[in-house]
């Protein structure tokens, strides 16, 4: 039986935005979130400031959450996950269960939006030896966000503010040996943002970013990159690090300063690995259950990317956000809007036809 309800899988920024828009249209939505709280990765991984405008991530996400909850036609189910799906566009039969608890409640929906997001690359897998599992002072972008949010950016092994901090870009991205050949799009911006935040919170710290390329699209160039260099004196060095090893009570990073053409070996207190994006477990599960084609990297495959960025291989199922590949927050919110529109239009058209 056809349905005018839209199912949204994932309660992060993409899912919340889509849910709010569906609700604003007065249409019915069910939002299924595996965790016990909404907000997705920005909340779960304690993001500090957003990479765009430096707004508090928690404050921004709370706004989205409040907006989604404010709509009476939006049914939010926490601690729940999709376990089964059959049917076609306009008439999907799904089962929603308590997370980890097999048997589910059968529900009829007209369209589905997959907003299951990404996970960070695990640095234990990389071919360069960055020592994330050897040294506590090697951290990831997510570990850094948490410390910055708490206004307690310290050298983990000592508990004191660092004197020298560096970022290593492209960890787990742009790498044929690991297999994640793509660029994760946001890490250059995030690292520069974090570098600024560190310089703000720990004015005595010297901060370096070791990069292959600095990807500063559009207004990131003048809003983030230029101030990082000019106001905050973040040192950008074109040359990626080969390994990290302990020397004395600090970490030694080895690289080449390619523009100066010299090998370099310098001590650091904290090393931040700019780990890239990979499809989350939720994304991979959703693809399997919904029968969605995945691309080479196991993200949801979007067949006609430039003109139809939210389409999947199955009509009636749309994707929003990093479940489709590396996305920044602008992309995610735009996709959420487009997916919500397409999903709502689909069920509305169906109702008109039926009437």
């Amino acid at each position: 039986m056809t349905s005018d309800t839209v199912l949204i899988i994932g309660g992060g920024p993409a899912g919340l935005e889509a849910a709010r828009l569906i609700g604003d249209l007065g249409e019915k939505a069910i939002l299924v979130e595996k965790r016990e709280a909404l907000g997705g990765t920005p909340i779960y991984e304690h993001y500090a400031a957003l990479t765009h405008g430096f707004r508090s991530a928690e404050e921004a996400m709370n706004e989205l959450i409040a907006a989604a909850r404010a709509n009476p036609t939006v049914d939010i189910r926490l601690g729940s996950e999709l376990v089964e799906c059959s049917g076609t566009a306009g008439d999907f039969k799904v089962k929603i269960a308590n997370a980890g608890n097999g048997a589910g409640e059968a529900v009829n929906v007209g369209a589905i939006i997959v907003a299951t997001g990404f996970q960070h690359f695990d640095p234990g897998r990389e071919t360069q030896m960055y020592g994330y599992y050897e040294y506590d002072d090697v951290i990831t972008l997510a570990d850094a966000e948490k410390m910055l949010k708490e206004h307690n950016f310290v050298t983990p092994s000592k508990g004191t503010p660092p004197q020298r901090v560096c970022f290593i870009q492209c960890v787990g991205s742009r790498d044929r040996q690991i297999g994640n050949e793509y660029c994760s799009k946001v890490c250059c911006g995030i690292s520069s943002k974090q570098a600024i935040e560190i310089r703000q919170q720990v004015p005595g710290a010297k901060v370096f970013i070791f990069y292959i390329d600095m990807r500063m699209y559009g207004y990131w160039e003048n809003e983030i990159y230029w101030p990082a260099q000019e106001q905050y004196h973040v040192q950008y060095v074109k040359g990626i690090i080969t390994e990290i090893i302990r020397k004395g009570d600090r970490l030694l990073v080895r690289g080449e300063d390619t523009t100066m053409g010299r090998p370099m070996e310098v001590p650091m207190d904290v090393v931040v690995l700019a780990v890239g994006m990979e499809p989350s477990k939720g994304t991979k599960d959703a693809a399997k259950i919904l029968g969605l084609k995945q691309n080479k990297y196991n993200f949801i495959d979007v067949p006609h990317d430039a003109l139809d960025p939210t389409a999947t291989s199955v009509p009636g199922i749309f994707v929003a956000g990093a479940a489709a590949g590396p996305k920044d927050l602008d992309d995610t919110m735009s996709m959420a809007g487009a997916a919500a529109m397409k999903a709502a239009a689909l069920v509305a058209k169906q109702s008109r036809v039926a009437a």
Binding site: D122, G124, M129, Y133, G179, T242, I245, R246
Partner: protein, 401 residues
Amino acid sequence: MTATAGIIPYDAVNTSSSRKFERMAEYAPEDFHKHLFELEAEGEWIVQRVPEPYVEVMTKYGRKKKIPLELSWHHKSCGQCGHIPGYSTAIFWLNRKLNFKYLDPTDQTSCTAWNYYASATSNAAAQAGVAMRNFAAAYETGYYPIIHCGTSYGHYKETREELLHHAELRHQVRDIMRKLGKAMVMPEEIVHYSEWVHVVRDRIAANQTRDFSQISVAVHPACHYYKLVQEDAIYDPDIYGGQRTATVSALIVALGAQVRDYSTWFDCCGFGFRHILVQRDFTRSFATLRKIQVMKDEADPDVVITHDTGCVTTLDKSQFVGKAHGFNVGVPVMSDAQFAALAMGAHPYRVCQLHWHSTDYRPLLEKMGIDHERAWAEFQDDLKRLKNGEKEYLTWEDVDA
């Protein structure tokens, strides 16, 4: 420059990190064995299987590798046999002491990779031809090849990749093998002897007669062991948290000695292939400044242990000039095999043949509780008997006395 001042020896083997890495099977790269056996099914070559008994170890991305315990055909190393023969002698001695059947063949050529990397007076087909001839020779005896040199091992792993992926090269080599009347044989695994030492380290420890608890070690991992075909090298979650190769370090731990870290662990020794023969200022400068001096300054170990011919040679022989120039050098260097043999009570001269080594090893022997003066006197007696014609050669029976 005193070495001991202010050194806090750092143990990296047991990482102090609060994090534990969980390897997930879904990210494992493709296993070359699939292609290896496909080619066998198509009649392109015979895959010589690893004989039982064997032990399975974990490699870098989680693939299990089979390491045979015995029935090994020993593919010898030029530099070991030629310049530091205690190294190969110790490998054979360990096999004998642990009662493993092995073969020391005369139907074996050098892998010729030292010359190849030094002079490039060879090419892919010749190198592959040399490899396959040796593999065929092993196969003909029914014993399984185990490689002594780190460079032979790395080179043969590369050769395997080339033969797997390039049919034209494979067919060119097959034609040459036909002319030699030899089969095309590729071993199921290419095994380095230090991988064998790794899997029998508990047996070695069980037979240990000398106390190594006061011995501190700096480990130098061979570039060609773990940087060539990186996925095919031993890694262990309990050693360096699985983030660095476990080979050699795990043995040291099993023998009760202390592994001390230093900040140039990942650096090459500076051997250079060509450089150590005709451009030696590079080799001795690199070995002294980037390896030995750093090890002395930061770890001050009793001994440097490594698992490759070139590395032992470079690190041992380069120290003479370093000393003459007042650098902080003077730490003995030997292989894991010689170290293990000493642990099991081997004679430092009859078995480990330490008189071929350059940097003074006597303080180390004293720390191991070995009366090296008496041992040297015993060896001098052996030499006397050889000199006056009483015996022609020193034999295994003499050594086990």
